[in-house]
Amino acid sequence: MKWLLVLLMVAATTVGEVLQAAGMRRHGEIHDFRPGAISRAIALLARNRFVIGSVIAMAVSFFAFMKLLSMTDLSFAVPVSAVTYVMETVLAKYVLKERVNALRWAGATLVVCGVTLVSL
């Protein structure tokens, strides 16, 4: 049960971040930080499908985190959420076709080892 929640939380966070990046890229760079311009940007973003999808995914991830916290120690729930970095690295390489260097793979591997130790 707790690993299912970790999986749900990590998957939802990763999907949410990818959708958020896609949505913001479609919207374009935000230059104007005056309150009026910011509220206009928010009104536009609220109708952006990618942004809406990312908000839903983030909410799913938040409620999964709540459920996980209610079942496990703080010192378990927070460290295992770092699996997100591993998912993002894999996604960056195989979905976004980014170049992932050896150091980054080493980092992802360390995170996996760390999560294994935390869960023992």
Binding site: L74, P79, Y85, C113, G114, S119
Partner: protein
Amino acid sequence: MTADSSHLRLKTCICTAIVVFSNAFGDFFMKRGLPDTTRLSTPLEYVTMLFQPWVTLGVVLLVVWQLSRMALLSWADLSYVLPVTSVGYVLVALIGWVFLHESISATRWAGIVLIMAGVALVSSGSAPSTVPRKEARP
């Protein structure tokens, strides 16, 4: 010039501290409001739980965390922010140990330190910089 850069360093230090502490204490207050006996099964139970004072405080701090992190990322590189804020994993464990009396085994401490190092390394890879550097692109 030097006044400017020391001002920026101070701003970065303060903002980084806010990011790390709001995240760690946000998680802590969430856990404080969600003890192991919490019943969470229907969607209504999740929503009403958000109004439990400790959980509300946790959520407020997590909102502060997201906003301060966005602000920090608007001038600092992700390859600075990710490794520095990964100290938060150790801080959260310390908070759990001191305030929630969680028993943390040596194996778990080792795991937490490995995760911190791993997150720090991940950012050293192809993570994009928030400030585009023209000379870095051939």
